[in-house]
Symmetry: D2
């Protein structure tokens, strides 16, 4: 069975696993107070050029989004998100469960535009409405798009205009920053975002996300919130160790680039075979449109997710490559269509 | 530096780590739908003699307690816990953050007695009070005690008397069940508890707890809650793999027994040296009372936690052994006192 | 200054106020356990033909919606609402503050259609999404429309199809049931809804809403929730007294009819003067479209709310009549345009 | 039947009711933006000598405590309260339902001492515990005691020492300030508390509490929270009107004094008859100890609440006087014992 279902279906990249094995019998303090987490934090802050930042490690993306957003907002404040945003539709109301409304705006490619923020703000005029206070974006998005630098800067301006915090879900930041055409560098993020996270789970780690708090006002007592929401692991060291391995020689970005490259090969082959895409391919998530009959055939040999049925007998499906995908797998798939 | 601070300071037991390495490059579905989780669930249910139970894997103890209790209760319902209970004082109000009061009762050894439950119920008489609906106990307790079978049965009766659910935090269940003098077997738990978890983090795993829902009324939609609270890991497989390794030849209980055995050696040596204990040693957490001057000396060579200062120039400290503790370490400590 | 801003700008209808005065020095028990509340409950249940129902009195609409919905749902369950629904946009995220997502669907007239529910359900397919569990509708709606009987029955069917509770916000139920063209009677509501409330605040009372629980599964422990959310007034008697007065000779419906009749006169006059409406007038909230210059003039002499600006120099405004509105006031307004 | 059960069993004081009747047909804006609320706010701020304060009117005490405390705290922060505090045991976990732990300390008379706060703070040492951030006290207390000025100042100092907000529940402030022996004046409260409320419900109003925010940091966006928690009444005017009447010639304090005076007569008569008290009588709540047989007799002719059974055949009961109590009622009771 060919596996193109998602980018979290293998364990860890061998270098990451190796680091875990090597440090396994080292005694270390718990709850993020260990030397591995401290070293990984220092390296991350240096790598992103933000010496005053604060790094926290959490086991997963939903956990990170929920913990961060609930820590940042007062009870009447809300997050704005594209309707495709992970917090909006794929986290079982985790944000609402902490008491906050998620205001969503339409989006085809998973990106939000400054004028959409302006419109939301116009509508939320007084105390009978929630108060929008945070913009949530994901980069790359849940439909595989990524933001250009001027787009991010324009969102930052919109946030400043409306007194909004900008929070970036970087579950696939490694893919965004290594996509062909990308003009953003990692050092840009702390200049643009109030907080963001660099995702490990989908980019070579067993698990783990590195949340970076840039804005000073978001830092006080964050570890209390981390513990309260269940995100402070006893053996946080495991994430320190893994991020040290992922940072070494920018491994995480090599893995992101690899995922993108194989997705591009896949997309090219599919295009050559005469098929179109629901969303223009950009990173490691692509959405080809196939006849339903072909899809039925593919399901026998490939693991993937459906995306959107069309009334004309075609449907879009979602294909995902990862750091572990191989050229052989791509060829194998292309031969099926 | 000697490490007697806690039982989560190493990585995983080599057999567990080895299982992770061996399965690392196997493709598996996400979010607990993989074959490893399914096999581990089946083995757990068989091992505990509860074919109708439902198993869920979560990354940590606070996460497990919070997710389970919040799933089980309606908004006005509360949990009863000994004041030493983990949910009561060491989880930063995680239960309250989901909206529920934790009613605590005094306890020296971390155990609760049926008559204490009766008293709580007498006090909560109408709708101006929260409605107690769940009894939380930990076995072994945060002060190293464990429950005898007749004690657990009496608590079950008290719960039946008052329409309470019984939930057991088994972060250190492996230690409770292998303590000298214990008369409870794992198969007793599903007969006594409505839900309980078998802890992996402190008993040989990198991380991971296996929550078992016994009472049918607690099962519907549990995966929604798991996802909402951030406890549904993308690579849940990691916990499936680890629990398969921990279950093999009852490894987890061998590790619990090892922890207990070394703690007993430690306690015996301390007694021989003429010292007393704040709580009678029973499992892998022991609380010797030393002169403050000796404690100051020990701090230079041993990592441990303080427990309780006394006005007479002595203090109780907490010493913890784990699956990785060695007889050499115990000897080394005993030579210091 | 002419007051057409809303229907809660006066005190109580004289008959209601009189009842409060007459009972003022009668000793009565607190928290809804008094004879007035009990008599009012009994009369309401008889009047709606639902002897098995349970009535609770709450001071206001947001309080009622929040308390009821939070009582009815488990943490992962969500409410569906038209986007104009009061819980959706005018209650500052009160529902989300209790932990639940409000899923909203587009609506021009404030009404929702069964096929919109079907679509929501199609989209919410598994545990990564919240689970829709309750349909919220208001009758009459925030834009002055009301539901016909076959529309309500079709919604009930959709709810049955998808295992949804049907909850009706009746802040202006008295207006809905007395609108020209209406074919629903009060006795229909307990046959169609799982719970609904009859609003007093906008229909002659100083304050107070009568929430009726029809579905047995919603009744257990409701008074706990009432107290917990702050909705159980010490002097609940005040609401018992008021509802007894409102029920006498169906006063509440006479007041609704009066509001509607004056709004119809107003609408007719506006139409005759050559103006159109943003929403077809049906009950006591009407939305005429005027030139911006005229609106500016009106603002000097009339209290009202803006509704929607159009790019062509016209805007819709909201005019509201109440039980206290007089024909003189209507004439006065019509002379201004 | 004699009514000594509580102080919220009648309607409003005639002067208050009269004010409602007189303003009934005046049009006024909704949601606290009316002239009555504005005038009442101004008068309150002048009366308490706190021109920079901010006043909000809420319908009841639980609503006020919950809305205020949830507005003031971040998610990991907790309130400290005497175990008899209303938020602690009589509001069905309303504070916890907004996500915050209530840390309670033992108290016989309902008062808390500075050293108890110090002890709580010592215990809450790091991020594994909630962070105490607010001290809740009620004055007068639920057991009828009141605070002396030096006691309040000492609590203020303890709060400053530990970075705690001081919030005073003044449901019975009118009784505290008019108790024999009291040395606190209303003007002291804004100098001592960060926020407090002057209760109307138990002191002559139909309903309504006036919450005063003194500390500037607590003011931003408070109206959002008020709306979100259901406490912003459509006809808030009713509370403005009532507080204007209660403030006129310090009516509210005359009523408090009356309640206290009749309670003192009652206590004196009971003492003369040879009975003791569970708590020394001080305000309008007194707790005489009677033989169980006498209590049984009394229950046939008097409405009151039980308090505490003793093993010796006696029990304490709670007797409450109010602004509406008469000397005849006191005599009538005293003749029964």
């Amino acid at each position: 069975m060919l596996f193109l279902k998602n980018d979290y279906s293998l364990g860890a990249h061998p270098a990451v696993l190796d680091a875990l094995v090597k440090t396994n019998m080292v005694y270390a303090d718990g709850y993020g107070m260990d030397e591995f987490c401290q070293a990984a934090s220092a390296q991350i802050l240096q790598r992103i050029g933000c010496p005053g930042g604060e790094v926290h490690f959490l086991p997963g993306g939903t956990q990170t989004n929920m913990t961060a957003i609930a820590a940042f907002l007062r009870p009447h404040e809300a997050a704005i998100s594209p309707e495709t945003g992970h917090i909006c539709c794929h986290e079982t109301g985790a944000i609402e469960a902490t008491g906050h409304k998620v205001i969503h705006v339409p989006s085809e490619d998973g990106k939000i535009r400054p004028e959409q923020i302006d419109e939301v703000m116009r509508f939320h005029e007084d105390e009978h409405y929630v108060k929008p206070r945070l913009l949530y974006i994901s980069d790359s998005t849940e439909t595989g798009a990524y933001y250009l630098k001027n787009e991010l800067l324009a969102l930052r301006e919109a946030c400043d205009r409306h007194h909004l915090l900008l929070y970036i879900d970087g579950a696939r930041l490694a893919m965004a920053l290594t996509a062909p055409g990308n003009d953003v560098v990692l050092e840009d993020f702390p200049k643009i975002a109030d907080a963001f996270y660099i995702g490990g789970t989908k980019c070579g780690a067993l698990f783990g996300e590195a949340l970076i708090l840039v804005n000073d006002s978001l830092k006080p007592d964050f570890r209390f919130l981390l513990k309260q929401r269940g995100g402070l692991m006893a053996k946080s060291r495991l994430m320190g160790v893994q991020f040290l391995a992922l940072l070494k020689d920018d491994l995480i970005f090599s893995l992101g680039a690899h995922s993108n490259r194989l997705a591009a090969q896949l997309a090219e082959g599919i295009k050559k075979a005469g098929y179109h895409f629901a969303v223009e391919p950009a990173t490691n998530l692509i959405f080809p449109i196939f006849p339903d009959a072909l899809i039925e055939e593919l399901q026998k040999k490939v693991m993937f997710e459906g995306w959107r049925p069309y009334p004309d007998g075609n449907s879009a499906i979602r294909l995902v490559t990862s750091w572990g995908s191989t050229e052989e797998e791509i060829s194998e798939f292309l031969q099926m269509i």
